[in-house]
Amino acid sequence: MFNQRAVKKEGYPGEQTAVPEVVRRSRYPCRLSMYSDAPDVEVSIEEFETFALDRLQVLRAIEDAQLRAKGEDDMRKRVSEALEKHMPSHTNRSKLPPRQLVGERRKDHVSHFILRLAFSRTEELRGWFLRYECALLKHRFQNADLAEKQELLSSAQLRLAHLSPADRGAKLGSASSFYAQQEQLFEVDFERVLDLVGRSQVVLRAGRAFVPQSEVATLLIHEFRHTLTQALSVCAKALPQMGEDERLLPVLQNLSNQTARSEYQSTGAAGAVTAESVVGLSDSFPLCMQHLHSQLARDHHLRHGGRMQLGLFLKGIGLGLQDALVFWRRAFSAMTDDQFQKGYAYNIRHNYGMEGKRADYTPYSCHRVIMSNPPGPGDHHGCPFRHFSSERLRAALHKDSLPDPEVREVADLAQAGHYQVACTRHLELRLLHRRQNNQPQPDADIRLSAVTSPNQYFDLCLGCTKPAPPAAGADTASTAAAILSGAPKAAAAIH
C-alpha cells in the first residue's frame, strides 16, 4: 500500500518484532481498529458505564471542536487533548507495560460497542454516533504512525491498486496535471469518495474517481461508515430484545440521552407574543433574524429557507400558531388570501406540528444555520457572520450604531471564521451600549458564553434589557440582570 522506500526509511517492518509478545498475542495487537468483531469479554457493570461515558466525552469533544476550533491545527489539538484525557491509547513503540496497552485497547473496543448499542435507538442518534465515530477514526488515522496506518488499511481490505504511469496518461490525459506529478493515484468508483467528489478534490472520468495517496483516509472512512451504518441498523433491531435486562437498558438510555447539543427549549422570556408585538421585540433579535424580518417587510415575501428560519425562531420566542398565521398573512400583503392559504398556510401549520407527520419542530440552532442549507441567489437566510460579504456585514453592523473599532473587532472575528464568537461579541457590545446610554464607563465590559442559537441570543438580549421581574421565573433574565448590576468586567457563564 505504501511505497517501499517510505517503509524502509521508517525502519519497518523490522521493528514489528519489537511488539511485546503479550500484546501481539492478545486480542488487540494493533492500536487502531475498524471494530469489525464484537467484544467477547466480560465487563463489569461499573466498567460498562465508565467506559461508555469516557468515549461519549471524546465524541462530544469532537462535536464541540468542529463548532469552535480555529482551523485544522486547533481542531486536531482539541481532539487529541480529549483523547488523552478520557481515552488514552499508546502505540506499540511506546515503552508502556503490555498489560496497559491491552487495557487501553480493550476499553476502546468495548466502549465503541456499548455506544453502538446505546445510539442505535433512533435514526437521529444513529446519525450522530456515525458522524462522530467517523470523525474520530479519521483523526486517529491521520495521527497514527506509518505502521499503524498500514495495519489498519490492510485490515479494512480496501482492494486498491495503484494506477501505472501508462494508465495515468491514457486515462487522464492533460487532467493528470490536477495532481502532483509524483503522487500515486488509485482509481475507484466515485461513490466511494463522495466527500472528495463534493469538494471537487478528485478528477472524474466516466464515473471513476482518481484518488491521490494523500486522500486514502477518505476511502477508509467510507468503508467504515458503510459497515457501521449496517451494523447500527442490525443493533436497532436487536435492541427491543434487551428489554428484559434491567441492568443494562437504563444505562443505555441514559447514555443516548446525553448527546451534547440538546435542542433549544422555549423559555417564554418574552411572555405572550402576538402578531402585533413581534415588531417591538425585533430590537432584541440577533442579526440574522433582524435581517430576515426587515427583508420580509421590504419585499412582502421571503423564500422557503428564510420562512423556515424566521418562522421557527418566532415560534421559539412564543408566537402561537394562530398569531403566526396572522403575522405571515399580514407580512405577505401582496398576495391574495387564496394564494396564501394554498401556498403558505400549510407550511406554517406544519411547523407547529399540525400537518403531515405532526412533528413539533424546534427552532434552528446556530450550528444548523451556519452549516446546512447555505443561501443561494435571492435567499436572505443563513448567518450574517458567515454568509454576508465582509462589506455587507460591516454595513449591517454600522447600522446598529456601533463605533468603528467595535465594528472592526466583530467583523474580524467573522472573517477569521468565528461566526458564533462574532455574534456573541456583537450581543455583548449591544448590551454594553444600551446599559451605558446615560453614563459611559470606559473600562466596562460584558462577557457572555458563546451563543448557540438565535433564540438563546434573544433571551439573553431581552433579559438584559428588561429589568428582571421581582420573583422572576425566567432564569436567564435574572442571571443576566445580575451581570449587569455587577462590577465592570463581570464574567458569567450563561447557558
Binding site: 463534493g198 478528477v203 472524474l204 441567489p377
Partner: protein, 415 residues
C-alpha cells in the same frame, strides 16, 4: 373517433385549463404507454419500480394528494381521468406501495431510490437578467438555460458516466433534468449531495456580491476548465449583447460590487458615468483592461487576476436548486404535465437541441385540443397528429435507452 360527440362541449371552454380540458388531454394525448415503460424500466409486467413509486396529484382547489401509487398503467390512467389533476409530481420508489404508507409502521416505509434530478429555475437569475423578472421569460434569458444544459449534460456524461439523461422544459421558466441510469437512481442522500456539490459553483445569498471563489487548484479542475470553455462561448452574446449588463448605472453598480478593489470600482464608475452611452461590450473590455493593469501592479493576491474568469462563471454558470437534487425523497413535476399558469406542456428536450429548443414553440393545452378537434378522423394516436408529435418522438428515443436491450442480455424464451 369518439371525440366527435364532444366537439361542441370542448370548444366551449377550450381555452381554460379545467378538469374537463385536462381530462381530454389525459385521455387522448398523454403518452401513457411510453410513460409507463419509462417508469417501469421495462416494457412488460409491472415491477416494484412502478408499483412502489410515489406520484402526487394537485387537484381542484389546490388540494395536494401525496403518496398515490398504482399497480399498473391502467389504474394510473383511470385515476388521471377521475381526478384530472392540474399537476403530477413524481417522487421516490419506496419499500412498499406508497398508497399503503399510512398502514405501515414508521421506519418500515422508506424511500429507496429515484432518478437523480436537477431543477434550474429562471428566478435564480433575477439578479443578473435585465429582460424579465419572476415568472416571465423571453428568448434572451432562455439562453441561460441553454448554457446550463450544455454545462451539466457534459459533466453528467463525461465525468459521471451517465448516459440515460432526459432534459425537460418545465412549462414555464426553467428546465428539469432526469438522470435515469441505475447507478444514479441508487444514490443515497449523501451521494446526491456530493454530485450537487461537484456541479455547484455559485455560492452565496443575496448579501454576497461575489459568488464564485475558486482556489487555485480547483480552478484547474477539468470540470471547471471545460465549463469555462462553454461559458466563454456564450458570455459576450448573452450577457453583454443581449442582457446589456453594463448599460445603466444601476446595472454596472451590481457588477462592480463584485470587484475586490474599492478604488477601481470608483474609477470605473466615474469613467462610465461620464460616457454612459457606450455599449456593455465596450465597457466590459475597458473593465477587464483596467483590472489586468491593476492586477499586474498589485500582484495576484487580491483576486484581481481571476476576476474576469470568476465573473463570467458567476453570471453564466448554471444555478442549481440544490435542495431538489440532494434528497431522494423530493418530488419533481412530471414531464407531460400541463403547466397550470402557461398551459404549456412540460416537454422533453433532445440533447442535440439545447441551442435550437424554443420554449414558445411548445404547444399549449388549448392549441392541442383545437388541433385534435380539427384533425381528420382516423384511428391511431391522437397525439401523433398534433404538434405534440416531435416531443413524443424525443421521449420515445429517450425511453428506448432505459429499456433492457431485447437481445443478448436476456435469455431467450424459445424452447
Amino acid at each position: 373517433m369518439e371525440l366527435d360527440d364532444e366537439k361542441m362541449q370542448v370548444d366551449d371552454g377550450i381555452d381554460e385549463i379545467s378538469p374537463m380540458t385536462l381530462g381530454h388531454y389525459y385521455q387522448h394525448l398523454f403518452p401513457h404507454a411510453l410513460y409507463y415503460k419509462w417508469l417501469n424500466y421495462n416494457g412488460k409486467l409491472a415491477t416494484t419500480e412502478y408499483t412502489h413509486r410515489e406520484f402526487s396529484f394537485t387537484i381542484k382547489d389546490g388540494i395536494y394528494l401525496r403518496y398515490q401509487s398504482f399497480k399498473d398503467s391502467e389504474e394510473f390512467q383511470r385515476e388521471l381521468s377521475r381526478l384530472s389533476p392540474s399537476k403530477i409530481d413524481i417522487g421516490a420508489i419506496f419499500t412498499a406501495p406508497p398508497k399503503h404508507a399510512k398502514s405501515l409502521q414508521p421506519g418500515v416505509f422508506k424511500p429507496v431510490s429515484k432518478e437523480l434530478v436537477f431543477d434550474i429555475d429562471m428566478t435564480d437569475y433575477d439578479e443578473i437578467r435585465t429582460c424579465c423578472q419572476g415568472g416571465d421569460i423571453c428568448a434572451k434569458c432562455w439562453r441561460f438555460m441553454t448554457v446550463a444544459m450544455h454545462v451539466l449534460d457534459r459533466a453528467l456524461r463525461e465525468d459521471f458516466g451517465f448516459t440515460k439523461i432526459m432534459w425537460a422544459y418545465s412549462g414555464r421558466r426553467g428546465v428539469h433534468c432526469w438522470v435515469c441510469d441505475e447507478r444514479a437512481r441508487k444514490l443515497d442522500d449523501p451521494g446526491r449531495k456530493a454530485v450537487a456539490g461537484y456541479l455547484s459553483l455559485i455560492r452565496g445569498g443575496a448579501e454576497q456580491a461575489k459568488k464564485v471563489n475558486l482556489s487555485q487548484r480547483n480552478a484547474q479542475h477539468p470540470h471547471i476548465v471545460r465549463s469555462l470553455e462553454i461559458v466563454e462561448e456564450y458570455f459576450e452574446d448573452v450577457l453583454l449583447v443581449d442582457q446589456e449588463i453594463l448599460l445603466t448605472r444601476d446595472r454596472w453598480t451590481k457588477v462592480l460590487n463584485a470587484l475586490p478593489d474599492e478604488e477601481l470600482r470608483k474609477i470605473m464608475d466615474a469613467q462610465w458615468s461620464k460616457r454612459p452611452d457606450r455599449s456593455s461590450v465596450d465597457k466590459w473590455s475597458e473593465l477587464i483592461d483596467a483590472v489586468d493593469k491593476r492586477a499586474a501592479k498589485k500582484g495576484s493576491k487580491f483576486g484581481l487576476s481571476t476576476f474576469e474568469r470568476d465573473l463570467m462563471l458567476q453570471m453564466t454558470y448554471p444555478r442549481l436548486d440544490e435542495n431538489v437534487t440532494t434528497h431522494v425523497n423530493h418530488l419533481l413535476k412530471s414531464p407531460f404535465c400541463i403547466h397550470p399558469k402557461t398551459g404549456r406542456v412540460c416537454t422533453p428536450i433532445a440533447a442535440d437541441q439545447f441551442d435550437s429548443f424554443d420554449p414558445f414553440a411548445v404547444p399549449t393545452l388549448a392549441q392541442l385540443l383545437r388541433e385534435v378537434n380539427e384533425a381528420p378522423v382516423h384511428s391511431g394516436s391522437a397525439a401523433k397528429s398534433t404538434s405534440m408529435a416531435p416531443y413524443i418522438g424525443v421521449f420515445e428515443d429517450f425511453v428506448s435507452t432505459v429499456l433492457p436491450t431485447p437481445t443478448g442480455s436476456q435469455p431467450s424464451l424459445d424452447f
